[in-house]
């Protein structure tokens, strides 16, 4: 196999159709005759629904049916996380969700649904219905640590003190290690905020009956998982559902959860299979889908004067919201990363995942690591300052060394990734010159520069199943279609898979066509895309399947050329005799002949599954240069540079796009985004795109993405994860840069004017009468 397409910046295969506006997303495919579903959400943060009077709402013209939580006769509790299922009950996700509940646990919980002929009727009925709900209100708790206190409202009976899970790690002895004389202690609390994914296509699905089954078309990352969960939620056989995934307008982990597909399918079934559509408004996407976990950390490090770590402790409290969703996996990832990123012989770590009466937290780009990276890298910066070292040198000294092997995951750091990324990034942004230049500034407007790194890996092995399946079907002209369990959601999975297939089979890329719309009836089984796994995991099944197809092609070539298979190859769409390089026939001639031959006619196809039993570290760095207007409490990112080692870059154009998107999400996370709830009522306060401040076009500097390419030895094509890592190091780099500029090192997010005003005032940088009030 020679790399003709792998490594090339080919444009997305779907870009042309997207630029024409003819790509079909879920809503574009739905027939306009669909009945409209609007969900009735709880307006209390914790309570019992005593009654819902549907009589007035039913009088609205166009209302077809109203369902309430009391109509749910069979209660099938189900898990929602987009994890592979486990047949071992101990490894299954917590089943704590109902399609509708009479005991809402957060403001926005699902307690009923209106079905109407159009959106206006549905909305009118919903407004009337909301007023007819009688609740017995119960006390609620929004903060994770408060939820663990004695006497706090209990959300789920099986989980005392609202602790969904608590895990610990212990290495060596912190108690003994800190007796060493001359140690320098650095300690801090670090707090991250809840944010939302904000994909521009809201979650949407529709359902209809077909034979004795129900078809659900949905904007999801995980169609095969959705089918399983609809079965679990309705108590019906999983095969009774067919799930179709059209093009998806962004997912970022929110669509790695089963959202409203079970409710939509259930309603269609109640209505005899009528076509029903559930299009979630933006305001509900913010609070009734999933959000990023807010996590609070406490980290202490004891260092020797040379900057090496003697002992470290780590504690984290993870606010999971009202239902388990991905549960403890997100907090656990941070705990797992802590001793790996900066190895130390003596470590105590523990983390709690806690239920609270807030919107449900689930997967979101980075899966707990933007939070943990903030804590780790803010703390690392402060440790470096405590021992008087340059922050970059401090990191180089203490970060995971080359050859580091992690026994549980079998991950190994094969290359000098951290140093290579720091070197490249520092050169691009001019780190050393600027760091010197910006030291000891005075005045109202100051600049700062800093760096940050993170820990990440590629896939979910060995914690959960990793399996990937691929099917390739050849046409009469030698072109192929392929299908994968890894979904295209905008990241470019179809394009990179096509590049791999073209190179491995040996045909031009123009002859390789993805079947992007997935259908659980025909798409080979796969668990979807998440965990930055797509390019890595699909690579295994793509390569295996492409080789199977190639074997069949060369056997057919033997039939028509009389040459032995070992003297044949397929290169760029031509059957070549390798002994003299002669072109014997084209793939088109071969495919046509093989289909229509009267001796041994065969449809050339291949399909296979590969179970992946490896994982791969995927690291990188971020450098940020900021300008801080102290009196205005404003931060502007002047320059941002991310350098990543994702192994072999399959497509530099798409890879850079992934980095840009991660940087962008990181900028919003650092400076402006935060979901708010009213402390008195538990009501969300800014669940819309006006009051919730995503970073806009004007908040972005030029984004620079670069790579060091160390071929990943465990990988089918040398590649490894890139989807999530770019988000992780951005916020700490910006925070550290603000610190360098102002001397004020802030331990919470976002670094919005509100936060900066308080911190700058406390630090004495601002002291006007307004601040003293």
């Amino acid at each position: 196999m020679s790399n003709k397409y792998i490594g090339q910046a080919v444009t997305r295969l779907d870009a042309h159709d997207k630029a024409m506006g003819r790509i079909k997303y879920t809503d574009d495919m739905c027939d306009k005759s669909a009945l409209v579903i609007r969900v009735l959400h709880s307006t209390v943060a914790n309570g019992i629904v005593k009654s819902i009077d549907t009589s007035e709402a039913e009088k609205i013209p166009g209302v077809v049916r109203i369902f309430t939580c009391f109509d749910l006769k069979e209660k099938h509790y189900y898990p929602t996380a987009g994890h592979p299922w486990s047949t071992d009950p101990h490894h299954q996700d917590i089943a704590d969700r109902l399609i509708m509940t009479d005991h809402p646990l957060f403001y926005g919980d699902d307690i009923g649904a209106v079905v109407a002929e159009d959106e206006v009727a549905a909305s009118q009925a919903l407004r009337i219905l909301e007023k007819s709900v009688v609740y017995e209100e119960l006390p609620f708790v929004l903060d994770a640590q408060e939820a663990m206190e004695e006497g706090a409202p209990l959300l789920h009976e099986k989980f005392p003190n609202n602790v969904l899970a608590h895990t610990e790690i212990h290495m060596g002895s912190v108690e003994e290690a800190i007796k060493e004389p001359g140690l320098i202690k650095c300690e801090g609390w670090y707090e991250t905020q809840p944010v939302q994914h904000c994909h521009i296509e809201n979650f949407i699905c529709y359902a209809y009956g077909e034979g004795d089954r129900t078809v659900v078309v949905t904007s999801t990352q995980i169609p095969h998982i959705v089918r399983r969960v609809i079965g679990q939620a309705t108590g019906m056989d999983w095969g009774k559902f067919r799930v179709i995934k059209p093009y998806v307008g962004g997912g970022f982990g929110n669509k790695q959860d089963v959202l409203y597909e079970p409710l939509c399918a259930w309603i269609s079934i109640q209505l005899g299979g009528r076509l029903v559509k559930l299009d979630v408004p933006r305001e509900e996407t913010f609070i009734c889908n999933r959000i990023r976990h807010a996590i609070k950390y406490h980290i202490t490090s004891w260092m020797r004067p040379d900057g090496s770590f003697a002992a470290r402790t780590f504690k984290a409290w993870c606010n999971n919201g009202a239902y388990s969703s991905h549960g403890h996996a997100i907090a656990a990832k941070g705990l797992n990363a802590f001793p790996q990123l900066y190895p130390c012989d003596n470590i105590d770590g523990e983390t709690w995942t806690v239920y609270t009466n807030r919107s449900v937290a689930g997967a979101m780009r980075g899966y707990g690591m933007p939070q943990a990276s903030y804590a780790f890298e803010v703390h690392a910066e402060d440790c470096a300052r405590a021992v008087g070292m340059d922050p970059l040198e401090f990191r180089r000294k203490n970060l995971m060394p080359v050859g580091y092997y992690h026994a549980f995951s079998k991950n190994e750091l094969y290359s000098d990734t951290f140093n290579q990324c720091f070197d490249k990034g520092a050169e691009i942004i001019g780190y050393y010159e600027k760091a010197k230049k910006y030291a000891n500034q005075t005045g109202d407007i100051r600049r700062g520069i800093a760096a940050s790194t993170f820990w990440y890996n590629t896939a979910v092995y060995p914690i959960a199943l990793e399996t990937s399946s691929c099917r390739i079907v050849m046409n009469q002209d030698g072109s192929v279609q392929f299908q994968l369990g890894e979904t295209e959601i905008g990241q470019g999975a179809d394009t990179v898979a096509a590049q791999m297939i073209a190179d491995t089979v040996g045909i031009p890329l123009s002859m390789v066509h993805p079947i992007s719309c997935q259908d659980t009836d025909v798409t080979p089984f796969g668990t979807g895309v998440y965990a930055s796994r797509g390019t890595y995991t699909l690579g295994f099944s793509v390569r295996q399947t492409a080789l199977l197809l190639k074997e069949k092609i060369l056997e057919a070539a033997h039939q028509f050329t009389r040459m032995p298979v070992y003297n044949l190859d397929l290169v760029d769409g031509k059957i070549i005799r390798t002994t003299d390089g002669r072109e014997l026939m084209t793939i088109g001639e071969l495919a046509l002949s093989k289909l229509y031959t009267t001796e041994g006619s065969q449809h050339l196809t291949a399909e296979s599954t590969y179970q992946i039993k490896s994982n791969a570290y995927s690291f990188g760095v971020c450098f940020a240069e900021v300008e801080v207007d102290i009196p205005m409490c404003r931060v502007r990112v002047l320059n941002i540079v991310n350098v990543h080692d994702c192994g072999q870059v399959i497509n530099p154009l798409l890879a850079a796009g992934q980095v840009h998107g991660g940087q962008s999400m990181g900028i919003g996370y650092a400076l402006s985004e935060k979901l708010l709830w009213d402390e008195k009522t538990g009501r969300p306060l800014n669940n819309n795109l006006l009051d919730y401040k995503m970073s806009s076009f004007m908040d972005h500097p030029r984004l620079v993405a670069d790579f060091v390419e160390n071929y990943e030895p465990t990988s089918a094509y040398g590649t490894k994860g890139l989807g999530e890592p770019p988000t992780c190091p951005v916020a700490p780099a910006i925070r550290n840069a603000i610190g360098q500029a102002t001397g004020v090192y802030i331990n919470e997010l976002p670094l919005s004017p509100h936060t900066l005003f308080r911190e700058f005032t406390d630090a004495g940088l601002i002291n006007d009468s307004f601040a003293e009030e």
């Binding site: 910046a9 444009t11 997305r12 779907d14 870009a15 042309h16 997207k18 630029a19 024409m20 506006g21 079909k24 997303y25 809503d27 306009k32 206006v120 994914h197 904000c198 994909h199 521009i200 296509e201 809201n202 998806v248 307008g249 962004g250 970022f252 408004p281 933006r282 942004i429 001019g430 407007i445 959601i489 905008g490 990241q491 470019g492 300008e627 207007d629 502007r636 002047l638 530099p652 154009l653 850079a656 796009g657 840009h660 998107g661 940087q663 962008s664 999400m665 900028i667 819309n688 795109l689 006006l690 806009s696 076009f697 004007m698 972005h700 500097p701 030029r702 984004l703 993405a705 670069d706």
Partner: protein, 183 residues
Amino acid sequence: MAKQYKVVHCTVNGKEIEQVVDVRSSLTDMLRNDLHLTSVKKGCEVGECGACTVIINGEGFNSCIYLAVWAEGKEIWTLEGLTGPGGELSDIQQAFVDEGAIQCGFCTPGFIMTSWEIVNSGKEYTDDELRKALSGHLCRCTGYENIFRAVKKTMLRHLGKFEEAELVNSQGITEYPEPMPFK
């Protein structure tokens, strides 16, 4: 409230149309549901995200907060109208493809419509002006980087500045400008 209907006469993508609409309908609804122009996307339906942007009498509008009945007598363009009769892409569409400015593609139609207005304005926008002009659109995939490049390059080409267009930084790191100070 009883439904009320009205006939709207307007030009959409160069074609004169007569459409009966519910007076409460948004232009987005009319374009998507009645005229099947599904490039017009719904991301928020309150004018926050820009995904539904169409050109009305030469100016970009959020069609989700523009009543269908206001379209009476107007000339409207959607993304479908930019593609030539033989399926050929306009230069701004092609630039979005070539520069990697498209990922999930959901914000793309709205972005291209505003960009089309910019590149056809005959005006040379500064970088800051370009960012401001495009800031009514939200995108969560691209960080706006490649979109910026696609629009700037196409704008310069429209102004006959072909060499300058080629100098707009590609995904390389060789030219790294000194950032502008606070305004």
